[in-house]
Symmetry: C2
């Protein structure tokens, strides 16, 4: 350091953004691949939209985000206002409505990318969220909702999470109970409901015909019994249909084997103005926020000129990685071997041809310190293979002098350890 | 379409940007993974920098790009000028100089991401380039250069390209021959040299001591013999050292088995002001531009306070995909099976558990049209498995009624076809 400044300040990043260093970058990528492989197994086809878009396209489909969340900039050549996408759903909606329009429905599309959300207020930090997700467009009704719940559970099991909760709700319940209430007032009510603040809710709902129902919603969460009660309580309100729909979805999800992961909340208000039916959030221990969320937004595609029902699921890979770490996974094991030898040591090529990670350094000392620093699993000094941290010999035979079966077997063990992340 | 506008105009993209639809997105991702697996085998560790950065960090390490190529915007909260990265090398340099500084050298880092370059002049289009690459920092001299040439050839063979050319040069040759020439004049000379325009070069070099050498460079390209001639011709100039260095590198690369891919150009001028030694460009039939390029930039890291030698290699996945297509590869085969059945058909789960792609549609007609539209390999109507395009039966037995070995074997054939892309 020439300047004496702390390193982080010498070449600062925009507030809220960060680098992924090797271990994290590698385990993030492996995680994304595992998630995508399950999306693929369910028939979801990958699409890759560009990194920025014209503001009016993205803002047409913002969903639960406000336009304050969007990082805008003026494109210098055209003077057009562009945005770094705060969410990928509007881009997928645009693709469905334009270039894929002639395809046979339903549309099963998967995406992966970084979204950027502007943070205003005190923090003034952006959030950079690595998202993976799917959109299922062109199917109304419970089958599509179930498919996404099933897919979410499948993905989370596939990445090794055993304990997670999918909290299902229906945006129609609150929406219908607030039918006819002025937008600003409705906002206040949902905010109080979201905080489960009964005192304020009581005050705010004075005079509303649906007051009792809204007050009851505060406690209508938990398991199936909460939904049974909601159906009974809401039977004579406009929310009767969505309440019944939610109970039916819950039962169908149980029938599909999801019971150990399901909870329900009849009073969930997230995105009530945007979502049109089923909504869900996915929780696991570790991150203080959902690892994923989704919902039905049957009105979005019409904003792009292609009216059709649609439901989406998005996972936050940062939060998912955190949950896996909390469950004791996600630390990628060391891999590869540092050969003590010349850069053209023939062992390098032989190892790499077998897809093993291999580099060479000229002395045992350099090789060992390199292996520690960059998390290699083994050093091979020509006669033996040893662990760079403990110096303990690896492999079955004391002497390893060729890329033979015994050696490959040793590395296979190391590699399978590294895959078990 | 409600408006009657052409689809592409209804929801336009910023000029020069585009979407990848399923087939292309999938084959792009598979290609990136294959490239990264070879980077990994050579010991390169993945890092993932953020999608935008403060302008002064990126512009400090621009290399061969000009600051005109950079898409800048003002971050609305802080008022700081940020850029969408036009190249990932400055970001990697920043990471090496800061957060990885304590690691044992050399630094072998891999990256993958989209870069955005502004286009000025007539086209006024941006270019969005999907890049993968590596940087090798902390090793001077030919061994590092050779490692990158070897890695480039390994990667290209791994992705199935047999015919490609790595054109090597040394930025020091032109740089030394223009030593002491005013920057603007030097620019003019290199431009003429780059166009191999002997008439203009003759005019521009009048009075320069190195005139004869500069004029000779125009034809000093091809195979080893061109470099032998260059060494002789430049022996008494300041460029004697880089010329010898280039010939030695060429010979060493031949010794490593690269001869069938090597060409040389003693008069290459690309990035002569930035690169400090070996430079190379990689060509294959198809795209009208290099599929990759790289070079030694020993002065870059010092701009980030961590002086050390470094050499990089970057591949353009668009151009590489084009070259593979031109060579008859890269079309991903159809995959997966559409089951004629209910959404909870147990065959779906059985197929997906085996990592096969599976969806259900209720009738044979819907299933067939869906399978065609979304490029599925097979439709399974309960008693037989058939090709959705030809309606020809698939599999060994006429009747396929369970997820049995015969069926899995059939799909294995289909899957291996799809992997052979």
């Amino acid at each position: 350091m020439t300047s004496g400044l702390p390193r982080s300040l010498e070449h600062p990043l925009p507030a809220g953004l960060r680098d992924l260093l090797p271990e994290e970058a590698q385990s993030r990528r492996a995680l994304a691949q595992r998630v995508q492989s399950r999306f693929a197994a369910f028939g979801y086809r990958l699409v890759t939209p560009p990194v920025f878009e014209l503001a009016d396209v993205v803002e047409r489909g913002l969903g639960t985000l406000s336009s304050n969340d969007v990082l805008r900039f003026v494109e210098p050549e055209s003077g057009e206002v562009c945005v770094l996408r705060p969410d990928m759903t509007p881009q997928i909606a645009r693709i469905v409505a334009t270039r894929l329009r002639d395809h046979a429905p339903p549309f099963r599309l998967a995406y992966e990318g970084t979204v950027v959300r502007r943070r205003i207020g005190r923090a003034k930090k952006h959030r950079q969220i690595p998202q993976v997700g799917v959109e299922l467009c062109g199917v109304a009704g419970p089958e599509a909702d179930l498919e996404l719940l099933e897919l979410a559970a499948d993905v989370l099991r596939e990445v090794g999470l055993e304990r997670f909760t999918i909290d299902v709700s229906d945006a129609g319940i609150v929406r219908e109970l607030l039918h006819g209430v002025a937008a600003e007032h409705a906002e206040d009510v949902t905010r109080a409901l979201g905080r489960k603040d009964e005192a304020q809710l009581s005050e705010l709902t004075e005079g509303l015909a649906t007051r009792d129902a809204l007050l009851a919603l505060v406690r209508l969460h938990g398991g199936r019994e909460a939904l049974v009660e909601a159906v009974a309580l809401l039977a004579s309100t406009r929310a009767a249909e969505p309440a019944k729909r939610l109970l039916a979805l819950f039962d169908a999800a149980v029938a599909r084997g999801l019971s150990s992961h399901l909870t329900a909340d009849a009073g969930e208000v997230r995105g009530f103005a945007y979502y049109t039916g089923t909504i869900f959030s996915i929780y696991a221990k570790g991150p203080g926020e959902p690892i994923g969320a989704g919902g039905r937004y049957d009105e979005l595609l019409s904003r792009f000129g292609a009216p059709m029902p649609a439901i989406g699921l998005g996972l936050d890979l940062d939060a998912l990685g955190w949950a896996r770490k909390d469950a004791g996974m996600g630390e990628s094991a060391p891999d590869g071997v540092v050969v003590v030898g010349a850069p053209d040591d023939p062992r390098l090529r032989m190892l790499r041809e077998r897809s093993l990670v291999a580099v060479a350094l000229s002395t045992r000392e350099l090789a060992t310190s390199y292996a520690r620093s960059w998390r290699f699993a083994a050093v091979w000094d020509g006669t033996s293979l040893f662990d760079p941290v403990t110096n303990a010999p690896l492999g079955k035979s004391a002497s390893v002098t060729s890329v033979d079966e015994a050696f490959l077997q040793t590395l296979a063990v190391l590699r399978s350890a590294s895959r078990g992340d």
